[in-house]
């Protein structure tokens, strides 16, 4: 269904005001979160910076925004917005004479991938026990992201930070491929005859794509930030936002890349490790993850990296190799490894949903408390500062988690069969998909053991 066919939706999306208001509110919230981290209470569960970023925002992001809207969060994320304003020299529409500042260099071609995002996310994940719980560390990371985004926008054209550096943007892009919405051109022939390409270059009606994407070439959601600039600039009314089946991008046989495949391993591995470290009953493991710089932490860091970058991919490679031997496939091992890695996209997303349900529902009652007393200074702005900690839905949580994990397994096996089905007969496709399905079943069972 084309959502932009409805005039009210289209006019809201084309108007800059709603987006600006959301940007302003979120930017204010972001700045307060950073301030709270620096000057507020060091007790994480009473600090707005921790509670609003890692509980409230995270819940909205991973439970709603990413599964249902893909990069919907990126459309309103406040981190790149100051850089955008500086680059453009304007707050709203491109009309007017004022010019922005910045070198507007092109992003280096060999960095035109998500490896930096993979490394950035891995680093954040490695230090997450500190970042998620210590307001000062959390604020330093958030402020760092704001400054790096701003700095890169002064050096490089468009949103280099969002596309190539942001540790969050990397996994949002990966999982946005499963989302049931997409922005695409309606008719590519019209684009072929369009001379000025205002969607990419900008015009009086709007800015050129901040993500450096030409909408006519969009085949998957990964690099589209849903900023709506192309909807505003297209002179031919040729941009549409449509609903589609869940997982539409990952079933396609083309466009599969090693950097994205590794992102899937990083995300799945991190979900498994978090489930063990943060939600498990092993105190020494928690301390090892938290005491950065200690001998135990170095051991944890090595195990973390080996598990994510070697053990998990090697086990998966073994599964792919078994399937090649069974089916006597002539396709290169690397190609099959990459394409089947996309079965981990729905599995990883659901693993994160299952993990986050536990984390978020248990700690959501801190939200009204820190809203009333954001800095932990004894304020009671809305009369909710003295509320008791209450875990929500703890009795039904394990059942919910089982449902989510089984959904992820079904989705991933279905994806594997679709990927295999392209070049093979039914029997060969099933045989080829089985070892990978077995791997995914093992991961699902592992997550159940850790979470239940």
């Amino acid at each position: 269904m084309e959502l932009t066919r409805f005039p009210i939706i289209k006019s809201i999306l084309k108007s800059r005001w709603p987006q600006l208001v959301i940007f302003a509110v979120f930017l204010a919230g972001f700045v307060i979160a950073i301030l709270a981290g620096f000057i507020g209470t060091p007790v994480g569960s009473r600090n707005f910076g921790i509670v609003f970023v890692w509980i409230a925002w995270w819940a909205i992001l991973i439970l709603v925004a990413v599964p249902f809207l893909g990069r919907g969060w990126c459309a309103v994320c406040p981190i790149p917005v100051v850089g955008d304003w500086m680059q453009r020299g304007k707050l709203l529409s491109p009309e007017g004479d004022s010019k922005g500042i910045g070198l507007n260099l092109r992003w280096p071609k060999r960095l035109n991938n998500i490896w930096i995002q993979n490394i950035a996310f891995t680093l954040v994940a490695l230090f997450s026990s500190l970042i998620l719980t210590t307001p000062l560390a959390s604020a330093a990371i958030l402020a760092g992201m704001l400054f790096v985004a701003f700095g890169l926008s002064l050096v490089f054209e468009r949103r280099a930070f969002c596309r190539y550096v942001c540790p969050v943007g990397g996994f949002i892009g990966l999982y946005s491929q499963t989302a049931p919405v997409e922005l695409r051109v309606t008719n590519k022939t019209i684009c072929a005859t369009c001379k000025d390409k205002p969607c990419y270059n900008g015009s009086e009606a709007g800015y050129g794509c901040p993500w450096g994407v030409s909408p006519s070439g969009l085949a998957k959601n990964t690099a589209c930030g849903l900023c709506m600039e192309c909807l505003r600039t297209c002179p031919n009314d040729n941009i549409a936002i449509r609903t589609r089946p869940f997982g539409a991008d990952i079933y396609k046989p083309t466009g599969k890349r090693l950097d994205e495949a590794y992102k899937a391993f990083i995300m799945l591995g991190a979900a498994l490790i978090y489930a063990a470290v943060l939600l498990g009953p092993w105190g020494e493991l928690k301390l090892a993850a938290y005491q950065i710089g200690s001998r135990a932490w170095f051991g944890y860091a090595v195990a973390f990296l080996v598990f994510i970058f070697a053990l998990l991919p090697l086990l998966f490679l073994l599964a792919v190799q078994i399937s090649r031997l069974i089916t006597r496939s002539g396709t290169a091992l690397r190609k099959e490894f990459i394409s089947h890695s996309y079965t981990l996209v729905p599995l990883g997303l659901m693993a994160w949903v299952a993990f986050s349900l536990s984390f978020v529902l248990t700690n959501a009652s801190y939200i009204p408390i820190s809203l009333s007393d954001p800095f932990g200074w004894g304020w009671n702005l809305f009369g909710t500062a003295t509320l008791e900690w209450t875990p929500y839905l703890s009795a039904v949580l394990p059942v919910l988690q089982i449902g989510v994990l089984i959904t992820g397994l079904v989705w991933s096996v279905h994806t594997g069969l679709n990927i295999s089905a392209n070049p093979f007969s039914r029997q060969a496709a099933m045989l080829q998909a089985l070892p990978v399905a077995g791997f995914n079943l093992l991961v699902t069972v592992g997550l159940m053991i850790l979470l239940l």
Partner: protein, 152 residues
Amino acid sequence: MRRTRWMIWLLLGLVGLAVGFVPLPNFYPQPTERVFRVHASQFAFSPGEINVNPGDRVTIELVSTDVVHGLFIDGYGLSVEADPGQSARLEFTADRSGSFRMRCNVSCGAMHPFMIGKLVVGQNQLLWRGIGLAGLALLSVLVGFVYRHPSQ
């Protein structure tokens, strides 16, 4: 052909319902008194996991070794708090089977939200049912694939 298909789906559905809901036989000994001394320190309970049988009368003696800690049991909704160097008792009958998280419910430091232990009452049937359903779900996807590609 269509009838066979429906029969297979019906069978899978019935097996799924059985795996999910049919009560499993319990071979537990007579309920007894069980006493556990649980040490709480930043950010762990020791022992981290407590195993009891359904119907057991359980006493948890929570001993805090550093700062104030609490112990809240998911599913049971029971809690107790212990001051530094002191102990506090929580007594209850383990009348709900399964695996339940024990959480510190007093802010005790940075990793407080993740200070978690486990109470296992009898077998963790939910886990076994979940694993069974996952296997069945995998089988169902394969069956569905066979029916969607009948001509190849």
